[in-house]
Symmetry: C2
């Protein structure tokens, strides 16, 4: 009986994969969700973990826990190495698994435009592991500056550069400013964290290039008011341990900085390339697979690609952005298509994205919102952001705890999650003698 | 002016070091607190982090934050390599710092009685880094068992051994039982986590050997009722990847188990040995330094040793146990001695420990308490434990969040902090083909 049911394999437990799995609840299919991590990650709040405000478990939920009551669904912890569309097999590092229908939702990875060597010096923010690296860098920088006697080197340690001014870049630079100006104020004896410099760099002519121009201006003014220096029309041409080299109308310039964070480029998971080769699908320049109107791969009605990995043109002719709501709606849509097929109907309407709007937080009391015809910034946008994100957090427990953390941080500016261990990656400079200490 | 003040250097930001530093608030001394981590750790709740109930930042507080308002106090992130009592210098890995008065409070490390090779297979629980390893092992074991088709190997993955039945061992085994019996129930498709075996092994004749015998019996009965098998009078003679070899009256036995946790032995930080050599101080068999009645090292009135590193005999002639209240009271005592010396008085009363009692949690609604003449177990002891630990948590923010997490976990059995990443240390077995999955 059970073996006669079609087997739906979902690769990836992000917003796309989870929403597809959930929407297949009770359907006459056997579902296997494969992920190399055992948890779903609420990516929109990654930047708050990277800056020590939340701890990782507050934005993650075990996949097994989410899908516990779906008896037709199995969670498989495994890493996908390849996909064989002829044999309809997903090849894992340690085995293989057959499918009747495949949903690929493996997301994006950081992309350095051919400069992978920059990654060491400028970590990006896509995973929980990334948050630990970035947090370590930010808080270590102040520790090292505290023990550095050379004013020039000290300034270099207190200079923070964020490359890329999308929502994540804006949010990260806002958080770093708050750490420097408020959280760490008064905690050091040799340095004044408030004297840190926070720079936000983008090659585009405007901050938040994907947003309406009015909001870009509001955001830039708000960032500047929070002490962040914005450099638009500025291209990064090199990144090394000592800082960032930029190019703009005035020429080249080297910015000495020991902490650089990359939020400029992402590309489809490497699995996208493998899948495209094996199915002869076309990809765009960030490696996303160009999909049909029903999110399948041309010539492969049994393979769906959803979320950040899919290139799907919206009504304006531009590909849909890599946002959680897009992935979630696509996951639900694909489940609907599968259920219609099971009931014998093969005709489905094309996927269409319902855009509820996008928002970015600049800092305390300050955010911008792009909701349909409404483009606004300021305090109301900030409260709206807070409210929406609380609703969105998948798990009830996390919601309450995050709310409380936010409330405490609002009043106290404190950040609990900033543990450092000298035995780890932190390298202090060769220090001064007794007198200096 | 400031340079004429005596310089008090404190090594270690645990309960002893922090209480000494705080008690020197406002005193006419310059204080430097050295730690290789930037946070104070609330060790009594480490086991809750190791079992995914709390996240690390909920039991840690940044040292700079604690001592922020003490203008006479500097926090120095550094690792101590040596102490030179002749030159009165603390030698760091990257510099050195002079002292007039030294307070050494560097705590304990795990100790394997000459079998350091066991450490790989049986991590101990003393640091935040240890919690990540143990948590990874516990939750990975269920994942691996889920994909293991050989019933014998599967049983081995579902067998958890805790070596050492002190408070930490009892608490850890109770938590693992709750994870298996409640938290993970229904989340797997091939295994039933409830079928896990949890074994608590101790060479002593009773569980909780440091507690009154009546409490040992209560605890053993409660553990057994929670599904934990207790083996007393059982000596561990070998630990490897495949399990534990034990020796007891009946002879030798090998217990196949893939998850073994060590909570049997601790010894003084390696700094103790160095300090003892350099000051010709005597140490006991666990490397603790035998101190004078005023907690100084014989012949060195300027060097105090406090907390877990100090061997100080209580009124009963036995050395004081390695507990947070002992360290805290010793820290305050030493600050008092220093202040008396500053005021010209050299006579001080010997240190005496005021024992408020000790407690251990066995599981839900179940704990034991040893408070003066009162020895009791059960539900009231459990509520008392909860209440006391909430009061004890240093930081207001953490207290509230921990309370809420406990409340949620109480009703839902859920544990948020159980992230795994296949790219990390987790190794899944070579798995079955499609059919098995």
């Amino acid at each position: 009986m059970e073996n006669s049911q079609p087997h739906v394999v979902i690769i990836g437990g992000g917003f796309g994969g989870i929403s597809a799995a959930r929407a297949l609840y009770g359907a006459s299919v056997k579902v296997t969700l494969i992920d190399k991590r055992n948890f779903h990650l609420f990516q929109p709040l990654l930047y708050q973990v990277a800056t020590g405000l939340l701890c990782p478990s507050e934005i993650t939920t075990p996949l097994r826990h989410i899908l516990k009551d779906q008896q037709n669904t199995t969670v498989l912890l495994g890493e996908v190495a390849n996909i064989d569309p002829d044999r309809k097999m997903v090849i894992l590092n340690d085995g293989e698994i057959g499918y009747d229908i495949l949903i690929v939702a493996a997301g994006m990875v950081n992309h350095y435009y051919g400069h992978d060597e920059w990654e060491r010096h400028a970590p990006g923010l896509k995973t929980v592991e990334d948050t630990a690296r970035i947090r370590q860098r930010i808080f270590s920088a102040f520790e090292i500056a505290e023990r550095e006697s050379d004013p020039k080197k000290r300034k270099q340690w207190l200079t923070f550069v964020v490359v890329g001014s999308g929502a994540t870049g804006v949010e990260l630079s806002g958080m770093i400013a708050e750490i420097a100006m408020n959280t760490l104020k008064g905690e050091f004896r040799s340095i004044r964290p408030e004297e840190s410099q926070i720079l936000l760099i983008d090659a585009a002519q405007y901050i938040l290039p994907a947003y309406p121009k009015k909001l870009s201006q509001i955001t830039e003014e708000a960032l500047n008011a929070h002490g962040i220096r914005t450099f638009t029309g500025t291209k990064v041409v090199d990144i090394d341990e000592q800082g960032v080299t930029v190019e703009r109308t005035g020429g080249r310039e080297h910015i000495p900085a020991r902490t650089v964070i990359w939020s400029s480029g992402v590309m489809a998971s490497p699995l996208g390339k493998i899948l495209a080769q094996n199915t002869h699908a076309r990809t765009d320049k960030t490696g996303r697979i160009i999909v049909n109107q029903d999110l399948t791969i041309p010539g492969h009605p049994e393979i769906f690609v959803i979320g950040d990995m899919a290139h799907y043109e919206g009504v304006d002719g531009k590909p849909l952005p890599g946002l959680a709501p897009v992935a979630t709606q696509q996951g639900r849509y694909v489940a609907r298509v599968i259920k219609r097929r099971l009931s014998g109907s093969s005709r489905v309407k094309a996927f269409s994205y319902f855009d509820k709007g996008t928002m970015a937080v600049i800092g305390r009391h300050s955010a911008v919102a792009d909701i349909g015809q409404w483009h606004f910034g300021g305090r109301f946008a900030w409260f709206l952001w807070l409210f929406i994100h609380l609703i969105l957090l998948v798990k009830f427990e996390n919601r309450i705890i995050v709310l409380i953390r936010w409330a405490f941080q609002y009043f106290s500016y404190s950040r609990g999650a900033r543990n450092l261990n000298l035995r780890g990656t932190l390298q202090l400079p060769i220090s001064r003698d007794n007198k200096g200490l």
